[in-house]
């Protein structure tokens, strides 16, 4: 916070920005040595974001809308760019939007990655992105009343549930195909994911020509809840529940955003413990995905075996945190539980067993004859599409981009180690799976390294005071990719604004391109390869537009078709 100018990383980007847009930059504010918020004129916003994105190796990490009318009379937008060129840092492009006309120039035409964020800020704050090609609702349901913007400070109580204004869904699904297609809707309770989503596959025979989908059927209003009801420490437990698989990554990201904002120096030992637990979480998450890859390629014995071995990672979490899943270990300023000598020894023993057992299972998986045929060359994500949309995690690394928050912007205990980054050039499901396999073994090595020489000292600092209206980013590399949190403290022992962006949010927009050109039977496998959370409660509706008939089949049938690939349900 109070760092000297010499240690600040990212100044060349600001110099380049000032040079290219001489009158646009109004102010720069440094939150940490590698985090800077640059205020630009609203009119130059798209140009500033595009310059950093395409000319200086920036990737769009998140965008935050904020109702700052009580502070400065305006709404604010913060476009968070992860700079991954010569200097690794975060540059946040900030602009104020007038509360009178509520309009801002859309960044999406220049940087496609901004599309979901701008649709969301339109829903939540009623700000109008002028020039946004896709003006459909993203987060709010179709039956939500017009003019009620949930995240505005004066709009509504977090418990309020407005009456629906329409009986049926009016969402328009986009089909870019030139040929005549059949529509295959999957969902609203969806294909392979816990989170219900409505998929529309536009197919020509068995081939997917285009796809569109609608998410946020179970939007839980967590940001509003945190801002209105909970204290700073309580939100760490709420963040634990953002995801049922990788919740701890969110908890760390949230805690570090507040710590960065207030300039809190978290003890090294706490940081190492956070990293150890993050890797524990990655192990069980990657084993889950590997198991599901087996399942969707029809290799159910492998699925059972991976889940059996995964139990060791769950036991490890239970021993270290007291709970198998929601670790509840973070507080602002550190962690609540230390790793004791006995636990250290048990951990080393367990991860040793995991390494040997998973190695054997991987050997079995890759030598299964059916496996490579089902995943190689399927669900291709073009590296240029990836560049345009800023996906994260194994999805982007499977398309050859070397992006890993642990290496690029070392946080928590990752500062203490050399972090290897694995990429694959195949761009297909196989590549993403291989990246996950490599990362699993990395996790074991990282835990071993951190347990070998864990820093000593306290695990929690309480030597700080909350100051109002301080803001900063906090980030982690969750198993599915970068989690990005942005917090602004308030003046009432509560957050003024908490923006939580889960990794899969950045991966959904590219899924459409991954589905194109593949067969319907590969769809569950492709959706599974971005590793959303799974559920088996779905039903699939098949609508043949040409023949004007519709047919509903159980999701089980769709899944069976994916695995066996005989007796197409489309016939």
């Amino acid at each position: 916070m109070t760092a000297t100018t010499e240690t600040r990383i990212g100044q060349p980007y600001l110099a380049a920005l000032r040079k290219k847009l001489p009158h646009a930059v109004l102010e720069e504010r440094w939150q940490t040595d590698d985090q800077v918020t640059v205020t630009v004129k609203l009119g130059s916003l798209p140009e500033a974001v595009a310059t950093l994105y395409y000319e200086h190796d920036g990737w769009l990490s998140t965008m935050v809308g904020n109702d700052e009318r009580s502070l400065n009379g305006c709404f604010a937008l913060y476009y968070v760019l992860s700079m991954e060129g010569a200097q690794k840092c975060h540059v946040i492009v900030h602009a104020l939007v007038s509360a009178d006309d509520l309009e801002f120039p859309s960044v999406t035409p220049k940087v496609p990655a901004a599309v979901w964020y701008e649709r969301e800020v339109r829903d939540m704050f009623g700000l109008r992105p002028v020039g946004l090609p896709d003006e459909r609702r993203l987060v709010l349901p179709d039956d939500w009343p017009d003019g009620l913007y949930p995240l505005r400070k004066d709009s509504m109580d977090y418990r309020f549930r407005p009456e629906p204004t329409a009986d049926n869904e009016t969402y328009k699904f986009v089909n870019d195909s030139k040929v005549e297609t059949t529509v295959v809707p999957l969902g609203p309770l969806h294909i392979t994911s816990d989170e219900p989503g409505h998929f529309r596959l536009f197919v020509d025979g068995e081939t997917i020509v285009d796809a569109d989908y609608r998410m946020f059927y179970v939007h839980r209003g967590m940001e509003k809840l945190a801002e209105t009801r909970m204290g700073y420490n309580e939100v760490t437990f709420l963040a634990d529940r953002v995801c049922g698989i990788c919740g701890y990554a969110h908890s760390v990201a949230y805690a570090s955003s507040v710590e960065n904002a207030l300039g809190i120096r978290v003890p090294d030992r706490a940081q190492a413990i956070r990293a150890i637990l993050l890797e524990t979480e990655r192990m069980h998450s990657h084993l889950l995905n590997l198991g599901l890859v087996c399942h969707f390629t029809g290799f159910d014995t492998g699925f059972m075996q991976f889940f059996r071995v995964r139990e060791k990672a769950m036991t490890l979490a239970e021993m270290l945190t007291g709970s198998r899943k929601t670790y509840a270990i973070n507080l602002i300023g550190g962690v609540r539980r230390d790793i004791l000598g006995e636990q250290r020894l048990t951990t080393l023993k367990l991860i040793g067993e995991l390494r040997a057992e998973v190695k054997r299972l991987i050997d079995i998986l890759v030598s299964t004859p059916n496996f490579e045929g089902r995943v190689k060359g399927v669900g291709l994500l073009d590296p240029q599409v990836a560049r345009d949309y800023s996906p994260v995690g194994p999805v982007v690394r499977g398309s050859g981009h070397r992006r890993d928050t642990r290496a690029d912007h070392a946080f928590a205990g990752y500062k203490l180690i050399d972090m290897p980054v694995h990429t694959q050039a195949g761009c297909d499901i196989l590549s993403r799976t291989l990246v996950r396999i490599a990362e699993f073994f990395d996790s074991i090595a990282i835990i071993e390294k951190l347990l070998e020489d864990t820093p000593t000292g306290p695990i929690l600092t309480e030597d700080f005071a909350y100051k109002p209206y301080k803001f900063a980013l906090g980030y982690t590399e969750a198993p599915r990719g970068e989690d990005m949190h942005w917090s602004m403290t308030g003046d009432n022992q509560k957050l003024y604004r908490w923006r939580c962006r889960a990794s899969t949010y950045n991966n959904w927009p590219v899924l459409r391109y991954m589905l194109r050109g593949n067969t319907v039977s590969d769809a569950p496998l492709i959706v599974g390869s971005i590793d959303p959370c799974y559920s088996c409660t779905d039903r699939v509706t098949i609508v043949d537009v040409n023949k004007a008939r519709s047919k509903t089949i159980a999701y089980k049938e769709m899944e069976r078709y994916c695995r066996e690939r005989t007796d197409s349900p489309l016939k």
Partner: protein, 181 residues
């Protein structure tokens, strides 16, 4: 295929006998919080610490009671209550079997009586809380006078304390009040 068969035979039986045999959990597993009403002083520290508001406290002035309650349906087993409790009255147990036949059975209550202000008779705080604080202060008091003063401060309600202060000030006299300025 052979590798897989070998793996299957090597593993043997992977499942547990649970629920027909008890399932062992890790040491320090965070399960159902157990409340001990005997050591609880109804200070409400846990209700403030509880992130999901599973623990709450309700005061019934007419009946002169304060009711502490926990809803195991809302509990997230984080253990913040255990950390906040000054008397160790609530602690997480390894018990994870919480299913009940009726929803109401998920809520556990403890009723405490309120202490009245000796001056005005209005209810002030839980009697056990007042007694707990008084006990600490009288033990640490340097003199019997200080102990008596502590007793007055702890057991009197804020309104009566204010009234008392005003009366004290009025007794001092105008000149001295001006001097102190």
């Amino acid at each position: 295929m052979l590798k897989l068969l070998r793996e299957v035979f090597r593993t043997g039986e992977a499942t547990h006998k649970y629920p027909f045999a008890p399932l062992e959990v890790a040491k320090d597993f965070r399960g159902k919080p157990e409340h001990n009403a005997v050591s609880c002083i109804a200070c409400a520290a846990c209700t403030i610490a509880c992130p999901p508001n599973a623990i709450s406290m309700e005061t019934d002035v007419a009946a002169g009671t304060r009711t502490w309650s926990i809803s195991y349906g809302r509990c997230i087993f984080c253990g913040r209550c255990e950390e906040a409790c000054p008397t160790g009255a609530i602690a997480l147990s390894p018990d994870f079997e919480l299913a009940v036949a009726r929803k109401e059975d998920l809520t556990k209550r403890a009723v405490f009586s309120l202490a009245a202000c000796p001056s005005c008779g209005e209810p002030l705080a839980a009697a056990k809380e007042v007694a707990y604080v008084l006990d600490i202060l009288t033990r640490s008091a340097a003199s019997p006078e200080e102990a008596e003063r502590a007793r007055f401060l702890v057991s009197t309600c804020p309104a009566c304390k204010r009234k008392h202060d005003v009366e004290q000030l009025a007794r001092i006299g105008v000149e001295r009040q001006m001097e102190n300025r």
